[in-house]
Amino acid sequence: MKSPRLQLNVGPVLYHWPRQDLLGFYAAVADSPADRVTLGETVCARRRELRLDDWLALGRELAAAGKQVVLAAQTLVETEADLRLIERQGEQHDFAVEAGDASALQLLAGRVPLVLGPHLNLYSRAALAEHADLGATRWVAAVELPLDAVALINPVADPVRSPRGEAIETEVWAFGRLPLAFSARCFTARHHHLPKDDCGFRCLADPDGLLLSSTEAEPFLVLNGTQTQSARVHSLLADAAALRAAGVHSLRLSPCAQGFEAVLADFEAVFNQDQPALGRAEAWAALGVPAPLANGYAHRLAGMAWAGR
């Protein structure tokens, strides 16, 4: 039997890219094999290369190109302005919204279809079931969760269902530097000795984040404004069988500044065209994709580990 298509979802761009770069990136995504695109600024409320209306216009263009579009809400919600932006995301009727925290659940449930985002801390089946009546069609597993836990939380044979009986789909973080922590403090501004409110948007210079290395020069983390990411790129390209066994419907591919089209093409080939994974990821570095790779979280190891075959 042919396995069902694994949906490829281009996650929100987590970095601060100039407007033209964002538009160019999404023009390429429109022509890519991606099934879904999740749009919006999730990291820092001060970044406004695109405003909500721009995102909505972009979303309509991507929808016209055949992509399923979801708007992403901010992850760390602190101010009344942050709450108002979520309210406005609930006032449109074209797209579902991916909740970044409980504020979005509170403000949007029943108003727009929801995706349960990766930072909602759903670590057990009972927790996912608690969110099934909010109008959610899909949940994105926390990056820390191993695939064996994903399989237990939402098994293929007995998925968590909404009150109307619809099975909730599972999405897993399959490519990209991992968002590991959030702070009110901007570490990029701190590095440049600038106050957060007058930061000069120095993060525009770091299209894949600002590398933080250990004292012995081991790449360790990446500073992305208020978000701290892994320096290693999480990739489950070589874990197709484990992902299918875990009942995953959708793969989140998190954008990087260079080589992302090749990454998308490789995931499409391996997951949806039965092509071998061997050798593909090795070619990414030459295209400017950050390295090295890690997949430890998927295999119940430290996230920075690599579980080889």
Partner: protein, 340 residues
């Protein structure tokens, strides 16, 4: 000029990692103590720390006979493979007569709502509720009566939350500082496989290695060099966000310097905003720490409540708290953002 009406004194909520610490806190004037069980169901899952059932029972009896409350921290996320320890911990808390549960996981809250509706629930800082809308989500669905705010909000934001919620608000007053939003930090599991949300630990001691190297003493976590100390430099525990790293050719504390939170100076302002409880961090600290820090904060709260207009931080309070501060430095944390 007459004094403005005295604001209500907030509850002083103190840490208890052991029965001795619990008794020290109660004797020193804590209104409530918080404790956890000896397993991964709470965010201070350290060897030699925490309570078994008999100790909880004894602690509850001790506190209640002296007018203090006992809160149980059940603030990690239930494991997908087996959530029995979390459900059982709720049942045990109810049976042992604790006054409230401090919870983060909606699965745990649902179990409380469905099986122990009389149990009072406090939303843990680990639930990462940073807005009144997020707090309202948990109030409507699970009936939480108090929320502990993450240590990332400014005073103005704390006030904003309080004005828009009917849930009592608790804030951190003193102790080790998390620069990341609690409940939203996977740095430790990235390096060691274990982090606060699932395992109740951060930068666990089992993953720490100290090594004498040619360039100094090295502190490693999960193999990653977190810091290297010269012969004259004071050494700290290698909590990974507090290490020295290299960014853009500069080696420094790139994320957070080892400092402690101390909000004694802000106490009248916190009370004016309507903060209902002040939490002291440190279930992993000694009974002596608990006794001394509780004593200082009891005096400060009593003075601020009696004469808010004349409140001033006493030098002996500052000196006493400084003895217990990590890195021997105090900051007001995010409440007063010097970096904003």
């Amino acid at each position: 000029m007459s004094e403005p009406p005295a604001p209500t004194a907030p509850d002083l909520v103190c840490p208890a990692g052991s029965l001795r610490a619990l008794q020290a806190a109660v004797d020193a004037g804590a209104d409530a103590v918080y404790l956890g069980l000896k397993d991964a169901t709470n965010a201070r899952n350290f060897a030699g720390l925490n309570f078994d059932d008999a100790q909880v029972r004894e602690g509850v009896a001790y506190a209640h006979s002296r007018g203090a409350q006992v809160l149980m921290a059940l603030n990690t996320y239930a494991d997908a493979r087996d959530d029995t320890p979390w459900r059982r911990a709720v049942d045990r808390a109810a049976a042992l007569g604790t006054d409230a549960l401090i919870v983060a996981d909606s699965a745990v809250m649902a179990h409380c709502r469905d099986h122990h509706p009389q149990l009072r629930l406090h939303l843990s800082v680990q639930a990462s509720a940073t807005s009144h809308a997020a707090i309202e989500f948990y109030r409507q669905r699970y009936g939480i009566q108090r929320a502990v705010l993450p240590r990332v909000l400014t005073l103005q934001q704390v006030g904003q939350v309080i004005r828009h919620t009917q849930v009592d608000i608790e804030v951190f007053g003193f102790g080790s500082l998390c620069v990341m939003v609690e409940g939203r930090c996977a740095l430790s599991s990235y390096v060691t496989g274990q982090a606060p949300n699932g395992a109740g630990v951060c930068s666990p001691a089992s993953a720490v290695r100290w090594q004498e190297g040619p360039d100094g003493v090295e502190a490693r976590l999960g193999g990653v060099l977190i810091d290297r100390y010269g012969p004259d430099e004071p050494r700290g525990y290698p909590t990974l966000c507090k290490g020295r790293f290299e960014v853009g050719g500069t080696r420094d504390y790139a994320i957070e310097e080892p400092t402690s939170l101390n909000t004694l100076a802000l106490l009248p302002e916190l009370m004016r905003l309507g903060v209902k409880a002040i939490k002291i961090e440190g279930r992993q600290r000694s009974a002596a720490y608990v006794q001394q820090v509780t004593t200082v904060w009891r005096q400060a709260i009593d003075q601020a409540a009696a004469q808010p207009g004349r409140y001033a931080v006493r030098p002996d309070w500052t000196a006493m708290l400084a003895r217990h501060a990590e890195g021997q430095q105090h900051t007001l944390g995010a409440y007063d953002r010097p970096w904003r």
